[in-house]
Symmetry: C2
Subunit: 408 residues, 2 copies
């Protein structure tokens, strides 16, 4: 008998028919002799509707109130899922974040799980019930309801799997696995049967469909995560511990996938005086304004002067530019320029670790396709290039071919 | 500085505009120097929509799951109300039943409040905030969410007022007070400036718009309850301690109001053997079937035989008749007949206490109007007649005139 945690996203529980379909899948998994805890997101557009409701009352809702409001979305879907299972004759019980023992910090709207006490969930599972847990939410020491922010329900599922010492966390969604590239862009993209945590983390950070924080959590607790379709029976992709020792040797000289993001904007603060603390002076005000900065590149532009470039999501550009212009003026930089039509493309793979040649092969492939590279940033197992947004699709296809990802 | 609890029903918080209107009223009451706790029902049809959602999944939802589902309706309205107050610059905080310290028994769908610990609500009030509490819900010792059933939000409000030792509980609704009779039936019905708990309890039980359980609770804790309009500024009706001693003397020889209910059905078990335990044999199976029985009358019909009549809500008639026919056969009664087109009319007033003549005056007035009385039932301060449903409106008008309720 295996302990499994299954997570179903909002589109998978979008209406009564879909909820019944998911319930049937859960029933089959339980009938096969498994103990099942299910984590659900809010139904379809429910969260968007609650946000719209709040905005009809105020343009600036308190994060604390917003959390209590938004938490209702998952309570609705989890009670309906429990009812659907009972309708199929499967004993089940739903639980809000507090009942499921999910203790978080007090950062409303983006809380982190501090502790997960699975005692009650375990007791219900041992009594033969399927336990349905509301994703995305928790409770503080002071009984305040919190939400976990982006990627919240995936994080709930992985944390629950860790606390229950589950054999596996299964994330069911509208894609049926992790691909070497987005199949909508690259027609011969290949589904990966498995991938290591670190590679998946890089893929997730740079465009793949799971949120990096849940991957990170899975990696800490070594919880295997299966990403698969909520409607089909194809095998999906298993994210698990492939990162170390012998296994990494087998995948040497190998790129696992190509990923991309659109909607990237860049700001360059030009000819800033190159003195100690200048970078902090630029970025602290952005952090204070709640603007998330991605890639950062600093080049000397002339003696004692430096250019500082960074990327932000396009939606944040106007605010970021306003802050940056003020900063540029304060620190005596020449000016501040922006480009709001960028994207990024990345190649990811543990095979790149300590192996030279991947970067130059990537740059050559883009160059052969006449794609100009605007910025470059790398990690140990990832190389990312910022390019014009119009070239993103072509760049993904070129790199997919250059690294021969269409066959194993 | 007074402590007030204000309750707003579902139609008063039906959309963003109405929520803002209520918030303005609350803001005015707070600006006048009061500490305000607000109890809200779910928005307009929200509860009905949640019930429909559950029924789209199962025809027989578990009460425990239903409670967790329905509790979200009030969480939504109370967070929106808190946001609306902040939008007006009034510090505010919303609380679910658990946060507000509302401990109930485990009777899902119709829970009773066991204890209300107002510590946190009081702390927030003392910090200068308006506290918005989700009505209709509580939590058990085991952290299970419960709902209080019919009249739940009124009960939350009165219980909170009692726990906070509030000066008054104000129930704002779509009627502007308690009338001597339904103004839609009796055009010259008069709004009562005040009424005693016991009289209000009888009025509420027999058709007036508040739920008797909240009146009963207010009576136990001697909490004055003001029933008034949520949109107008008319004075409303104060329900308070008028029942005892001297005050009752002042209202002697006085009927406070006429009330009515439609949709009453009657079942008569005819010619049952008149042996000990026969009444229990009839009503126990009805209780087991969850059918609420109202008026009961038993008459001897012939030697050692008895007729037992009782009324139920018309919606329960089919089930009640099925149970009763089985019982009639079991106990050897002759047969079982039903009349499903009845209503009841009542006169209520502490003035009737120990004062003869009210009953005969009532029966005479109905007789003069050629209205036949099918059954009679009385309490110390109420006389109720069951009549044909077609005669209900006329009976109310006749009695309103007979007891001179159109002037003080």
């Amino acid at each position: 008998m295996a302990m499994l945690v299954q997570k179903y996203g909002g589109t998978s529980v979008g209406d009564a028919v879909k909820i019944m379909n998911v319930a049937r899948r859960v029933a089959v998994a339980q009938a096969a002799g498994n103990q099942i805890a299910v984590v659900v997101s809010a139904m379809g557009k429910a969260t968007d509707e609650l946000i719209a409701l709040a905005q009809s009352v105020t343009s600036n809702p308190e994060p604390r109130e917003m959390d209590l409001l938004l938490s209702t979305g998952e309570l609705v879907s989890c009670t309906l899922m429990a009812m659907a299972l009972r309708e199929l004759g499967v004993p089940s019980i739903s639980m809000g974040g507090a009942q499921a023992g999910i203790l978080t910090d007090t950062a409303h709207g983006r809380a982190s799980i501090v502790q997960l006490d699975p005692a009650r969930v375990q007791r219900e599972l041992d009594a033969g019930r399927v336990v349905i847990v509301a994703g995305f939410q928790g409770i503080t020491d002071d009984m305040e309801t919190t939400t976990l922010g982006r990627g919240g329900s995936d994080t709930t599922a992985v944390a629950l799997a860790a606390a229950l010492k589950a054999e596996r966390c299964e994330v069911y969604t509208d894609v049926d696995g992790i691909y070497t590239a987005d199949p909508r862009v690259v027609t011969n993209a290949r589904k990966l049967p498995e991938i290591g945590y670190e590679e998946m983390l890089e893929l997730a950070t740079y465009g793949a469909k799971m949120h990096p924080r849940s991957i990170e959590l899975a990696s800490w607790y070594k919880i295997p995560v299966l990403v698969a379709s909520s409607t089909q029976d194809s095998p999906g992709t298993l994210i698990h511990d492939l990162d170390n020792g012998g296994t990494a040797m087998e995948v040497a000289n190998k790129v696992s996938g190509v990923t991309y993001e659109r909607n990237v904007a860049r700001i360059t603060v030009r000819a800033a005086p190159d003195s100690p603390g200048i970078v902090a002076n630029v970025f602290e005000p952005l952090t204070d304004a709640g603007i998330s900065v991605d890639t950062i590149v600093q080049n000397a532009s002339a003696e004692r002067l430096t250019d500082i470039s960074f990327t932000v999501e396009r939606g944040d550009l106007d605010r970021a530019l306003e802050v940056s212009r003020r900063v540029a003026s304060d620190i005596g930089a020449a000016d501040c320029v922006a480009n709001d039509h960028l994207g990024n493309i990345s190649i990811v793979g543990t095979g790149m670790l300590n192996a030279p040649g991947y970067a130059s092969r990537m740059f050559r492939a883009l160059s052969d396709a006449a794609i100009n590279i605007e910025m470059i940033t790398t990690s140990q197992i990832r190389i990312t290039c910022i390019v014009d947004e119009a070239n993103v699709d072509e760049a993904v296809r070129v790199l997919h071919a250059a690294f021969e990802l269409d066959h194993e």
